[in-house]
């Protein structure tokens, strides 16, 4: 359906030491939905020299425009959410102990025994659990409710932490073998990818980069960003779970893996929030095949990305999502393969280099 063209696509990006270093900085920063300050500052610093125009909008989105050259440039919006799941302090108790609420979809079974960083000062704290010695076997059959947990900041915390402060898992970024182990790979991988795409933007399109806020609590940033940009098409760049683990019964097969590590970027065909535009799905898959870039289709199912908001803005915006497969999203420790990130960047860069008005000239079809 798309014509292969040989327009200049700018220098091809890759993942090297400086990209990994940037990802490390992004993952270790705190940006719980509604308080994306730290990541926003890193993004602004990285893109200020590259983009033609950079603004921070009313919700805190960073909107960056990189104009191309020539006639009939397609306006392509790329959205990567800056925010991460985390916590808000909601009540102060005695003895350095604080009650907290979850922000975003966090399984409460992932909370006991974790270290956290609290507030703009990133003060270290821990979420403890009752000693096993004091529990009964019956008690251990039930999960520990969030309401029974506290963040402990030590006896002399005083007034340095107060209700309203955000907190995040304290996990530090590490490269282990072929993998990255970090918190918030969902979606700092997307943010880092989008920064690289801005730095290597193909020249035949206008690249409209939205570093969005509040994705984890309702796709709020993406909605207003899409309105402001008014693009011809949009791609949400995100991270999606790889549930490619063994079945407990070795004889049984795991046929609900969503995505798999080592299989390349995941192109969405259906999730709980979006029925992606098939023209864009095909464009991505064909690009991957022709350029011999690993790529997988995300199994149709639940979940959602910024595309869920974007495709319904104004009179509708053709949208699709591309995600880096990651294990253990929305926990203290997520894990991704460097190769999958590299392929994601490569696929998006190559595909953007092939965008022409022809891509959207035909009506939406299957």
């Amino acid at each position: 359906m798309t014509k292969t063209n040989n327009q200049p696509t700018g220098q091809a990006p890759g993942i090297g030491a400086s990209q990994i270093e940037l990802l490390e900085k992004l993952c270790n920063a705190t940006a719980v939905s509604g308080d994306e300050h730290e990541v926003r500052q890193i993004v602004l610093e990285e893109i200020k020299e590259i983009a033609d125009e950079v603004t921070v909008d009313a919700l805190g989105n960073v909107l960056a425009t990189k104009l191309g050259r020539g006639e009939n440039r397609v306006r392509v919006m790329l959205a990567a959410h800056m925010d991460e799941i985390g916590f808000m302090i909601v009540n102060k108790h005695e003895d350095g102990l604080f009650e907290f609420e979850r922000i975003g979809g966090i399984d409460e079974r992932q909370l006991p025994g974790k270290s956290v960083l609290v507030g703009r000062e990133s003060l270290p704290g821990v979420i403890g659990a009752k000693p096993i010695h004091m529990t009964t076997a019956a008690e251990r059959n039930n999960k520990i409710e969030t309401s029974a947990l506290r963040i402990d900041l030590g006896p002399e915390i005083g007034d340095r932490v107060k209700p309203g402060d955000r907190a995040t898992f304290a996990t530090r970024f590490e490269v282990i073998g072929p993998s990255i182990r970090a918190k918030a790979l969902d979606n700092r991988l997307g943010v880092a990818t989008l920064i690289e795409l801005l730095k290597h933007a193909p020249e035949q399109i206008d690249l409209l980069a939205a570093f969005t806020v509040q994705e984890e609590v309702g796709l709020r940033g993406a909605r207003v960003a899409a309105y402001a940009f008014n693009p011809d098409m949009a791609i949400a760049v995100d991270a999606t779970p790889a549930y490619d683990l063994p079945h407990w019964d070795d004889d049984d097969e795991n046929d609900r893996y969503n995505t798999r590590l080592d299989a390349g970027p995941a192109v969405y065909v259906l999730d709980a929030a979006t029925i992606p535009d098939r023209r864009l799905v095909n464009w991505l898959v064909e690009t991957a095949q022709q350029a011999e870039i690993p790529c997988q289709l995300r199994q149709p199912g639940g979940g959602g990305t910024d595309a869920g908001a974007i495709h319904k803005v104004r009179s509708g915006i053709p949208s699709v999502s591309v995600s880096v497969p990651i294990r253990y999203a929305h926990t203290a420790v997520s894990l991704a393969r460097l190769d999958d990130w590299t392929s994601t960047l490569k696929l998006l860069h190559t595909a953007l280099g092939r965008v022409t008005p022809d891509l959207l000239a035909v009506e939406r079809r299957d």
């Binding site: 000693p131 900041l153 079945h247």
Partner: protein, 352 residues
């Protein structure tokens, strides 16, 4: 002068699961070498440090027992590059998902404990805690590499980095019982500048969390006249508010119950009062859950005292302790030991 935090952090960085204590033993050996006259390793792996007393021969012997072993896990199987495991020591499976760990394979491999999604588990309560046998460890390597580097029986340690909280509090894994080893180091350091009649045998004991094997065997080698067992005790905090817990960071626990000789309790209480070291009577109606359970019944029986450093969130990777209480414990032990008269044993008697 030993810097407590540095010493403690160094010990926390070393593995040393029950039965596999050599990494921690090496660090304690280095710390105790300048503070003792003789260091030996027992057949079961406990470290014995002798600090000779200045009294006349034959000198009485006091043994300090601080277990150095840690709780952790062991690989039971490998599936698609992910490991199944079992526990060493008592671990509540509900604190495991999402924990940073190190798998000690052919090389040390950083990893994470994984809770698989419900549809990969047997039918049941999909929202409830996942049993330990269904949890996995992922070291970020592909299956072929895992097969080369890991095998059944490899041990797995917690890898949570220690965190400094406010008010001299520190959080991390294995503070149970490295804080007591640290307190013993402080005690030995203080005794360097003080005369003491008795021989002091400092023991970093092995296998407390599984078999009490160290505590059962070291007294047989040493034959102490009395023993001071130092371990962590429950500090008041979330989920831990009844009589079993004492306040956090507000003084050491003096154990009181059948594992403890009442005359030794009295000795410690009097000394704490005299020095104005804050303490709490830590009642242990049946047993203390410490090395004292073993030491007390070695050979013809040994009078024991149990000293506790209050700790929150026991047996999780974010155990929390106040450095103040570690210092207090070290100071109190040194003061009691330095003041043991040559004939002190005559007063450690029943019905006195």
């Amino acid at each position: 002068m030993i810097d407590l935090l540095t010493h403690l952090k160094e010990m926390l960085s070393a593995a040393g699961l029950s039965g596999f204590e050599s990494p921690i033993r090496k660090i304690v050996q280095e710390a105790w070498a300048p503070l003792t006259d003789e260091l030996t390793v027992s057949k079961i792996g406990s470290l014995h440090g002798l600090k000779t007393g200045q009294g006349e021969q034959p000198r009485k012997r006091v043994m300090i027992s601080a277990h150095m072993d840690a709780i952790g896990m062991m690989v039971t199987g490998i599936h698609d590059g992910l490991m199944r495991f079992t526990e060493i020591g008592g671990i509540d499976h509900r604190i495991l998902p999402g924990q940073l760990v190190t798998v000690h394979g052919r090389e040390d491999l950083p990893g994470v404990v994984v809770q698989p999604p419900a549809y990969l588990l047997p039918e049941g309560d999909s929202d409830g805690p996942v049993e330990m046998k269904y949890l996995l460890v992922d070291v970020g390597l592909r299956p072929d590499e895992v097969a080369q580097k890991v095998r059944v029986g490899d041990i797995i340690s917690f890898a949570q980095e220690p965190l400094e909280l406010t008010g001299d509090a520190i959080a991390g894994h294995t503070l149970d019982n490295r804080v007591s080893v640290a307190a013993t180091t402080l005690c030995l350091e203080e005794l360097k500048s003080r005369e003491h009649h008795w021989d002091v045998w400092a023991v970093a004991s092995a296998q407390e969390e599984e078999t009490l094997g160290g505590a059962l065997t070291s007294p047989f080698d040493i034959r102490p006249d009395i023993a001071i067992v130092i371990d962590v005790c429950f500090a008041r905090g979330p989920g831990s508010s009844d009589w079993r817990s004492i306040p956090f960071g507000k003084g050491v626990g003096l154990g009181y119950g059948p594992n403890i000789h009442p005359a030794l309790f009295q000795l410690f209480e009097d000394k704490a009062k005299e020095l104005e070291i804050p303490y709490h009577r830590d009642v242990m109606p049946r047993m203390s859950g410490t090395d004292a359970m073993a030491i007390q019944v070695v050979a013809e029986g040994i009078p024991c005292m149990v000293l506790g450093i209050p700790l929150r969130y026991m047996h999780t990777p974010v155990e929390t302790v106040s450095l103040k209480d570690i210092r207090r414990a070290g100071r109190l032990m040194a003061a009691v030991i330095a003041d043991l008269a040559p004939d002190a044993l005559e007063h450690i008697k029943w019905e006195e």
